[in-house]
């Protein structure tokens, strides 16, 4: 019996080391999870059933009231959206003036929570979207009110999400009011984040909204993370103690959003944005004389329909080239040779002068 214990102990220690250091056991784990993750689904079943029954037997007045509420909420959101369109445009214009890359619209997908991690000392949740749904490691997860966390483990049809408030999690944030940067670390309390190493003299006060700064290259910039709850200036401490409450309902949200941010480089994004802008200008009739999308002669690929009308008849058919060149995928490749001569030409002439 002792020998068997020894063998099994050595085996499990070896497994742990291999799992921690190498990715050798990832397929094994993923295959096992295919079956085992059903237990989360089964334990979630009562909740699901309850919801189904509740929606079956909801009274008419309740439904009408809910409908009313949703309608007003929708109206409010639509109103805000109108303003947003104008603001987005303004933002793009201002960014163009600054020559910086445009804000990108990230794609989102709805996921549903199917389980909480049973360990009370970690804040992790299980969601019903996995590798087969295109989820990637490190992907940001939102709910309706703010950032929730990131994907830390992928399984075929489920994934594990580490929440912002886990003690091992930190996120780079920015005060929305003045752009002050800081790092918000989880505390193990679902209603509490702490800002680390904030100078005593920093301009941060109660009620400030903290948004993600995007500096960690993991979370997209500009999503709300938390609101500052209290700022304590203790002269005995080297830094101010800043406590914040996450805006997302970390322990209540059932429906979450997975953010698919694009992996284009900033240059590509800038090119795409410039092209979109140009197409828009063309549509408005203020067409510039020389379009930026000069087709490369050797390039006879997919962008041909977009490029040909742009050179042949820039004013005649404004709608079609606009939609084509606004598409981000391929025209970027055609745009780069056009952009390059402008920047590289002076350099080459200078070299020649030397």
């Amino acid at each position: 019996m002792g020998v068997r214990l020894l063998v099994l102990t050595v085996l499990s220690v070896a497994l742990m080391v291999v799992d921690a250091r190498f990715s050798l056991l990832k397929p094994v784990r993923s295959q096992m999870s295919l079956v085992l993750m059903q237990t989360y689904w089964i334990t979630d079943l009562p909740q699901r059933l309850y919801q189904g029954v509740a929606s079956q037997f909801g009274s008419r007045t309740e439904l009408v009231a809910e409908n009313e509420k949703l309608k007003t909420e929708n109206l409010l959101l639509q109103g805000r959206m109108q303003k947003l369109a104008a603001l987005t445009e303004q933002n793009v214009r201002l960014r163009e003036l600054l020559n910086s890359s445009a804000l990108v619209n990230e794609k989102v997908e709805v996921a549903e929570l199917i389980g909480m991690d049973p360990n009370p000392f970690t804040h992790r949740i299980i969601i019903n979207k996995g590798e087969r749904d295109g989820v990637v490691l490190g992907q940001p997860v939102l709910d309706a009110r703010g950032l929730m966390g990131q994907v830390v483990e992928l399984m075929p049809y489920t994934s594990r999400v580490l929440l912002l408030t886990d003690t091992t999690h930190s996120i780079p944030v920015q005060v929305n009011r003045n752009g002050l940067r800081a790092i918000a670390s989880g505390t193990g309390n679902p209603e509490r984040l702490e800002l680390r190493h904030v100078a005593d003299t920093a301009d941060i006060k109660e009620g400030d909204l903290l948004v993600s700064s995007g500096l960690g290259q993991r979370f997209p910039a500009g999503y709300p993370v938390a609101t500052v709850k209290e700022v304590i200036h203790d002269s005995g401490q080297p830094f101010a103690i800043v406590r914040a409450v996450p805006t997302a309902a970390l322990n209540r949200s059932r429906y979450l959003l997975l953010v698919f941010s694009d992996n284009r480089t900033p240059e590509e994004r800038a090119n795409d944005a410039a092209q979109a802008q140009e197409a828009e200008d063309k549509q408005n009739g203020t067409a510039p004389v020389i379009p930026a999308t000069v087709p490369k002669p050797a390039f006879v690929g997919p962008p041909a329909p977009a490029a040909v009308p742009a050179t042949a008849a820039p004013v005649a058919t404004p709608a079609k080239p606009a939609t084509h060149s606004a598409r981000p995928a391929k025209p970027a490749a055609a745009a780069t040779p056009a952009a390059r001569p402008a920047t590289t030409a002076p350099a080459t002439t200078r070299q020649r002068e030397e």
Binding site: L15, A20, R29, M37, T39, Y40, T43, T122, R124
Partner: protein
């Protein structure tokens, strides 16, 4: 003889499946910290009563399943459960003669030790729990032991598992 050995073995596995479900079932926030070690309880009972059938290899397999469920390193819970089963098996002859309260005490000590090893392992992997509160599940499990024991004994009589 061989046929009697494998009689109604599926009931044992069914209890393990239920144990797995219970070990991930959602609980209120304040009770999360008290979640009993269901799999360990089941393993302790079956290895005490059917030592020829449920042993350390079973414990290891269930531990691996638990690792996948909890997202811990593969082998962490497997080691813990193997250890618990080993301790129960090595005390098996005496433990079966003990009155219930004494069994509870032994279970408390064994599970407490296992939870301390758990703490040690999670410290090694970098997410150490800040408190010793993780010994609480051992206490809760020890308090649940009589009920689990009576229930499973009834089940065993009913299905004549041996």
């Amino acid at each position: 003889m061989a046929s009697t050995h494998s009689r109604n073995g599926w009931v044992v596995w069914l209890t393990f499946a239920i144990g797995l479900l219970l070990s991930v079932s959602p609980l209120p926030q304040f009770m999360e910290i008290l979640r009993p070690l269901w799999l360990a309880l089941l393993l302790a009972f079956w290895s005490l009563n059917l030592p020829h059938k449920v042993g350390m290899v079973t414990a290891m397999c269930l531990g691996l399943a638990e690792d996948v469920l909890y997202g811990t390193l593969l082998g962490q819970n497997a080691l813990i459960l193997t250890l618990i089963t080993f301790l129960v098996l090595s005390l098996q002859q005496r433990l079966r003669m003990f009155p219930m309260w004494q069994q509870c005490l032994v279970i408390l000590v064994i599970f407490g030790l296992a939870q301390l090893v758990q703490l040690w392992l999670s410290a090694l992997t970098g997410n150490r729990q800040p408190t010793l509160a993780l010994v609480l599940p051992a206490l809760v499990s020890a308090l649940l032991w009589p009920w689990v024991s009576f229930g499973l004994r009834g089940l065993r009589r009913r299905y004549k598992i041996n």
